[in-house]
Amino acid sequence: MNFRSKPLLAALLLAAASATHAQALRVGLAEDPDVLDPTLARTFVGRIVFAALCDKLLEIDEKLAIQPQLATSWEWSADNKALTMKLRPGVTFHDGEKLDAAAVKFNLERHKTMAGSNRRGELAPLASVDVVDPMTVKLNLSAPFSPLLAALADRAGMMVSPKAAQAAGANFGAKPVCSGPFKFVERVAQDRIVFERYDGYWNKANIHFDKITYTPIVDATVRLANLKSGQFDFIERVASSDIEKLQADKRFKIARITEIGYQGITVNIGKSEQAQKNPLGRDPRVREALELAIDRQGLAQVVMDNEATVGNQWVAPSNAFYAKNMPIPKRDIAKAKALLKEAGVPNPSFTLMTPTTSDAQRIALVVQAMTREAGFDVKIQATEFATSLNLADKGEFDAYVLAWSGRADPDGNAFSFHGCKQPLNYAGYCSTETDALLNESRTLRDVAERRKVYEQIAARVLKERPVIYLYHRNWLWAYNAKLSGVSNVPDGLLRVTGLKMQ
């Protein structure tokens, strides 16, 4: 090598080094995802990873409106029982296979029939799929089902390569092949999930990273320390107590997005005989008194450092389907005491079961303190999550602090919780009228009409209080201030399209 070329080489090396650095995105997750097969996947955190790996037929935007992704347009039939979708031309899977109508049919049928599929419920009314032409599919439903679009904007709409899926069988999740902006490279359980850019991606002009690494770190303090020391570019679920300090630090930016889920207290009102043994489960007036004894804003302040929006329904007050006829009740100790007196139990006692997460335990403590003023005697029972889930399902509880990560369509936050004998109905609430209304809401596509039905549902459910809704947490993200293009979608999933390191 001659002497003069050395500075040039050095410059090239430097450029290459800084380029590789800028093109890798390192994300810190709060948990380790489960299996990476959209049909079998069951966790919230898994959906964060899927957002870079598997494109969906549809997408939701920051205002929860449905947007095109793999389907460019869609149309309902007059009777709302068929959905015809036009597919995006020129889309390929990571193994080079074409995404066409036959592939969509294969995927939807896989969701419906695969053993252990977690998508069956979301696609329950889907009766059959027709290939109209290579770029058009028709989804035939047994009954109108408006939550379908939101489901197709989530895991039920994720498309995997039919060839790879057939070859891998039940083990597809070990090496998933989708059509998203990034393709799977490797996974070391509890250490890292690595993806690299897919060069054949249909929207690759908007993908500015070559590689993404997801690392699960359960402890929020440690996750943040890793962001601060430069190990990560982006972390999800920052502890609300760390936000104030972080805001003062110019090296980082914060995103705060009201979640589509909620935090609440589920009350056993009919799940088992235990409901009748306790004044709280037996008498709606006692539940009303409990709600009136809680100061939601104070609770959000103490537990979440105000990083939450108070609410009293399964959707946040800003949501299009929030029932305005049922506003958030103000704290009223006098009225709570009067109700308890009327019910003949001035000092009701019950056990509040809570998972062992610090948020849930703090809620229990604050609720205990607040409701004591009205005469309640709350005993707290902190229980490991798997055990608490089992006790809840068997009805061996009085009240249970439980959160829900939320779905884009209100149906996903209401149906399974308030429908008779539905899997997430731990309260044991059951009313044929409410069931009829919940089913009716599924048939309506017009927002105003559907909201009217939800107003009726809210009026019925909130009077019985199977769940006392408390607040909607903020998704708190922190990231390198040089990172731009972060879109604040309320589902709490990081979108990689448009993300760029300056």
């Binding site: 977690n118 069956r120 399902d393």
Partner: protein
């Protein structure tokens, strides 16, 4: 010696059978339905039913044990229901990490604990002794996760000398590997060093007051020879036993330290698997660590022979 070794090796088999039954049985006592927790958020009844069938949850316990042991004997530890990865692959991924962390921590513990114990015994009552005792008290009473977080804040966030996380295989990049492992190894080693120091000190004090040491001194041997050659060998026996147990514990994974430093070892794997009721993973990992524990105890017994010629 050979006879002794063979006898000990033969004892391993029934011990492992017993351990495997214990692991399997105890796990069944965990409250909560594994199918439910594995079914995730939606709690779809068809998914729960599918998982119950896949995990043989509706079959009698002895039959389920037979399925598992049958697989183990064929070298199949099953697969993680949560991630679909084979348990053997998980163990192979994590074992080298855990071994490296354990050995590094143990080396640090020995390098600090043994000399500190000797110094404090020999200089009993001096300020060396107080210093060593103070260190031991600090080491035993400092929680690992707290020390770990403080070290991250100092060396990673403030000074930027060491990475806060990010395990790299030593075969890929030894420097990066060591810089990621040194803090967790120190945190773990520090606590064990304190325990070793206390034991070393008391064993040494006992030996130093014995007749043969007085004789050795009376012969006019140098203090250095008396302590290191005559006294230390005898004093080491209880420390070796303890050391082997501590090393065994290290090999079963250091849960909190691994969590804090994001070291992908056994500790994190087993805790997450217990919380997720991922039985196959728990069973596989516990079986491997139990085997390691038994083998280490055997090695410790052999080490007595090396340290103490009278036992030969």
């Amino acid at each position: 010696m050979t006879e002794y070794l063979l006898k000990r090796l033969a004892q391993i088999v029934p011990t492992l059978v017993f351990v495997s039954m214990l692991i399997f049985g105890l796990q069944q006592l965990l409250p909560g339905d594994p199918a439910k927790i594995l079914a995730g958020e939606e709690q779809d009844p068809t998914v729960i039913a599918h998982l119950r069938e896949k995990l043989h949850l509706d079959e009698p316990l002895p039959l389920r044990y037979a399925y598992w042991v049958g697989g183990v004997l064929r070298g199949d530890l099953g697969e993680s229901v949560r991630t679909q990865q084979p348990v053997l692959e998980l163990v192979v991924q994590k074992l080298p990490v855990t071994i490296q962390l354990a050995l590094m921590a143990f080396a640090i513990a020995l390098a600090i604990g043994i000399p500190a114990g000797i110094v404090s015994a020999v200089g009993r009552g001096t300020w060396w002794d107080s210093l060593a005792n103070g260190f031991a008290l600090w080491g035993i009473s400092t929680p690992n996760f707290w020390l770990g977080i403080l070290m991250i804040l100092l060396f990673s966030v403030q000074l930027g000398w060491l990475p806060a996380s990010g395990y790299v295989s030593p075969f890929e990049d030894l420097r990066a590997n060591l810089s990621a492992m040194i803090m967790p190894a120190f945190v773990l080693g520090n606590a064990i060093a304190a325990v070793l120091m206390r034991h070393m000190r008391s064993a040494m004090l006992q030996v130093l007051s014995s007749d043969y040491v007085r004789t050795a001194r009376a012969k006019g041997l140098r203090e250095r020879v008396v302590v290191l050659k005559h006294a230390l060998r005898n004093a080491l026996t209880p420390v070796i036993t303890l050391g082997a147990l501590e090393l065994g514990t290290l090999l079963s994974g250091a849960v909190l330290t691994e969590q804090v430093f994001t070291i992908p070892g056994f500790g994190k794997l087993i805790v997450d698997s217990v919380f997720n009721r991922d039985y196959a993973v728990v069973q596989g990992v516990v079986l491997v660590t139990a085997t390691a524990y038994i083998v280490l105890n055997l090695l410790a017994d052999l080490a007595y022979f090396a340290a103490n010629p009278r036992l030969r």
